[in-house]
Symmetry: C2
Subunit: 388 residues, 2 copies
């Protein structure tokens, strides 16, 4: 049984009575997503280190880590500090660290948090080693590039790997390797996702062999992204998997068939401001300040605009999307080329908008409103935080 964190505020209001816009979270759907991921990772025989950057919520992450504090991945030192305050002691900061953040990282270690950093170049390694405390050296994972996506050392680049390893002494110490198949978000089949998962594994095994051959200890081999974590079949030699967006899922993940639309746990509740039947559209009170400007589905087969529009119960309206977003206005209409008919709506009607990118949409809000989909009520509220 999973421990149920106490909601910070208990309510029992009909969804139809709350003020809009509001970020709704269905905890039943979320728990199902968490169970699916934890089962997938467990079946691979590796540890799970969920990423907190999507949720930025103690209550949500507590469920991701199985009801008690466990290993987590963070994208900011603020996340590390908030979770350290809540009792999390095994934290991987998975963005290449800059010299101006090392002192703060060191302070977290001084509080008894096993904070680990990542680097992908010798200059950063040198800076960390110089700024870190030799009495409590900062453990560092070297980032490896498994897919040409963003950052990391090429897995076969022995000179770069050994150059970084040589600099990780004094205030820093090498503790492992990390990779993230960000390119898996662009995959078009489960087979392609599996290939990315294999690439993550193989890239780390190659790089580890080079370092171990030279006598460097490489304990942690950390891979992951939501797609590869769910579709990997063999992670032999890997020690841990990271993933974050699976907790809520979103239209980008549905667009590559990593989840179904009904697995998306997050939506933005909005009210109709005006109906413009002659223009085939209506306006809602959720603009980019509520939805974010993320257009992650623009490159996919089905472009969902600024979000797929559902009725107030959460059932998607075919082809109905947010076509344009201003700060506090969303323009809703049918997807270009659609043969569907614009649903009849009236001023004040409620809709729910599914996010392209859960991290970005959640990031626009200060709290999750928890919903009971069966009783159509809001049952509580979980705060979330931002900043660095």
């Amino acid at each position: 049984m999973r421990e149920q964190p106490l909601p910070e505020r208990i309510e029992k209001t009909a969804i139809s009575e709350i003020e809009t816009p509001a970020l709704l979270l269905d905890p039943v759907v979320m728990d199902r997503n968490i169970d699916r991921m934890r089962a997938a990772v467990a079946s691979l025989g590796v540890a799970f280190r969920p990423h907190v950057k999507t949720a930025k919520s103690l209550a949500v992450v507590r469920r991701m880590t199985g009801g008690v504090p466990g290993p987590i991945t963070v994208s900011t030192l603020r996340e590390a500090e908030v979770f350290a305050d809540a009792g999390y002691t095994d934290i991987l900061y998975a963005v290449g660290v800059t010299p101006n953040k090392v002192a703060r990282a060191q302070r977290l270690r001084g509080r008894g948090v096993d904070l680990k950093l990542i680097v992908d170049n010798a200059d950063a390694a040198t800076a960390i080693a110089a700024a870190g405390d030799p009495a409590d050296p900062l453990p560092v994972l070297v980032e490896v590039d498994s897919d040409g996506h963003r950052a990391g050392v090429a897995p076969s680049d022995a000179a770069a790997l050994l150059g970084i390893a040589a600099r990780l002494r004094g205030g820093a110490t090498l503790c492992g390797l990390l990779t993230h198949a960000g390119a898996s978000y662009g995959a078009t089949s489960h087979a392609e996702i599996r290939r990315y998962a294999d690439q993550e594994r193989d890239a780390l095994l190659s790089a580890a062999a080079i370092l171990r051959e030279a006598g460097h200890p490489v304990e942690t081999l950390s891979v992951g992204s939501t797609p590869t974590a769910l579709f990997a079949t063999d992670l032999s030699g890997i020690t841990e998997v990271r993933a974050g967006v699976f907790v809520f899922f979103d239209l980008v993940m549905a667009g590559i068939d990593v989840c179904r639309v009904e697995d998306i746990a997050l939506s933005v509740l909005a009210s109709v401001i005006a109906v413009q039947p002659d223009r085939g559209r209506f306006l809602v009170d959720a603009g980019w300040s509520a939805l974010s400007r993320d257009r992650g589905t623009a490159r996919q087969a089905v472009d969902q605009g600024y979000g797929l529009v559902c009725d107030a119960t959460g059932r998607p309206c075919p082809d109905l999307i947010v076509l344009e977003a201003n700060q506090e206005h969303g323009v809703v209409g049918l997807r270009p080329g659609s043969t569907n008919i614009l649903p009849k709506v009236a001023v004040g009607d409620l809709v729910r908008i599914l996010p392209n990118h859960a991290c970005a949409t959640a990031g626009q809000h200060a709290a999750y409103r928890l919903i009971d989909s069966v009783r159509r009520t809001v049952t509580g509220s979980w705060p979330r935080f931002g900043g660095w």
Copy 2:
């Protein structure tokens, strides 16, 4: 003399010593922008009602209103409440109101705030009139569409105008007309902006004539956008002008020649995480969580990616832009087709990134760090707020 609001926190730190990412605000540039706008509006002989949605900061807006509370425009009731708490009593809520917000608006009026609402359809007018308090009817401006941009009644649509006016009784009362030339953001010349300014004026005068002819009082005629407010030459018959983004300006405004790049008062300070010379790019620690996902210059002649990159002193590096943005990573490189050379940078170097859209970028941060550009110091910090 303008009253100087006390910064909430006084500091004197070298810009090079603060942690990144951080939102920098140059108050000297901001004050110049405010002076320019206030002079432009004064020369037109109309009242100024600045929009607070860009800044969402008491300290900034206090300067926009000339050092004392004055008329303001808001985009959320939260903005209205925060400014009401600070002594602002003349507030226009310039987003079509939904029925679930009327009670809250009425409570603000009960506190002595002259809050005005807008509508552009009979259903919304009916809902406000029904929910409002006949003992203190909600003053309502009818939104008129002057440019086909988003919302509003066509200025010659007598049936629609009179239909709305007829419903504004009981809990609501007609007090004026409003329009916003959002399409002026797409103008390509000052002459075209002037035409939008004329359209704003003419649309309201046409609609006012119809309503006045039928015996309806139309006191307030409210127009505005940053481009039209700055380039209008004749606002005869108009009573007030609204504008917001001018306070900071941004690359979208520079792209239509409404300001110069050096008039942009806002930038995001970021550190170099990694240099990838073979790929002609480097990574910084400002991703979309610091920059926003706004791509407002994508449709302009010069696409600035996710922002134009400057050196640490704020001088733009020719053709250097943020090509891609992940949550906490920005990928910086030369604009496609550029013949410039990638500047030499090292890990830990600082850059400043100018925003496409000031409202969106500022919205990602909890505070403005005030800078002294001459001494290259951070001199204080002004909080900002979000939410609804």
